[in-house]
Amino acid sequence: MNKIKSLADLKKLQAEVQSKIKLREKGDHPENLVQIKVSMATCGIASGAKETMNYLIEELEHQGIDALVTQTGCMGYCYAEPTIELTIPGQDPVVYGFVNKAKAQEIIDKHIKLNEMLDGIIPITYITIDNR
């Protein structure tokens, strides 16, 4: 297999990316970034969280929006999977339910870019999964 060659290519990429990173220093501070956590437990995966997550990552990159998309465990909203927790810098996190690709697109277009909240936010006294 061409494993060695791939590593050499990776090294080249490393140098390129590194010089790019130096230009945009803010990438080092996650609190300045839009943060999205995709609920990725059995319930989420079975409902298509993987497609949603890959779509979010690729679409945000495509649009040039600096965002941190990570996975998290079950938030307890199994009925509304796939669910995502969206945190805009300086604001409280909100949780959206039933996020398929179309909804993800809408969230990027309206909530992330224009800061307009959409239908489908799971309300109640939500506490983030880290505090549970």
Binding site: S6, Q18, A46, Q71
Partner: protein, 182 residues
């Protein structure tokens, strides 16, 4: 679960929750034995013998957010439905190993699905977890170790979009090369 890649994604989430630093995913396709073996082992917190006994009980979970835990039972059911078997071993402090054997040509065997997507989600979203992925078929073998990749990347993070697209290409190319018809 619709396909095997989703099962893998699901079971590895257990390893991540067990705070593993290294997770090994191995897929072996053996047409001559009509077997497809998926093994996932981690070095996480492991389970007590009591937890282990209940792990395949759908109404047992270590989570507090809900009362059912279907990941392992679903995998067991799918494997056994295709004439295969399911095995789980665990020791507190050492880690857990899950092995699912599927009948390769069985009509009920789920397809592999989007394995590349699964691996990308795992590899590129958890900075602190390392993965060793091995895929073996009669046409060849592919191995990927994120420790080697991270070493090459030095201070560039594996979560960078550029790195992600690079890995996507590598995975796609290599997995295509060793693919056998499904």
């Amino acid at each position: 679960m619709k396909d095997l890649s989703l099962h893998i994604l699901d079971i590895v989430q257990n390893s991540i929750r067990a705070r593993s630093s290294l997770i090994e995913i191995e897929i072996e396709e053996k047409p001559e034995q009509n077997r497809l073996v998926i093994t996932i082992s981690d070095n996480g917190s492991g389970m007590t013998p009591e937890q282990l006994k209940r792990a395949i009980d759908p109404f047992y979970t270590s989570r507090s957010t809900r009362k059912v835990g279907l990941g392992l039972p679903l995998l067991k059911q799918n494997a056994e439905m295709t004439g295969g078997s399911f095995r789980i071993e665990s020791e507190t402090g050492k880690g857990t190993t899950v092995e699912a054997v599927f009948g390769l040509n069985h009509i009920d065997r789920p397809v592999m699905g989007d394995l590349v997507g699964t691996l990308l989600i795992l590899i590129c979203s958890q900075e602190e977890t390392n993965y060793v992925f091995k895929h073996q078929t009669p046409s060849g073998e592919f191995e990927l170790d994120t420790r080697v990749i991270k070493q090459t990347l030095e201070n560039v993070k594996i979560t960078q979009p550029e790195v992600r697209s690079f890995l996507k290409e590598i995975l796609q190319e290599n997995l295509e090369q060793i693919q056998i018809s499904e």
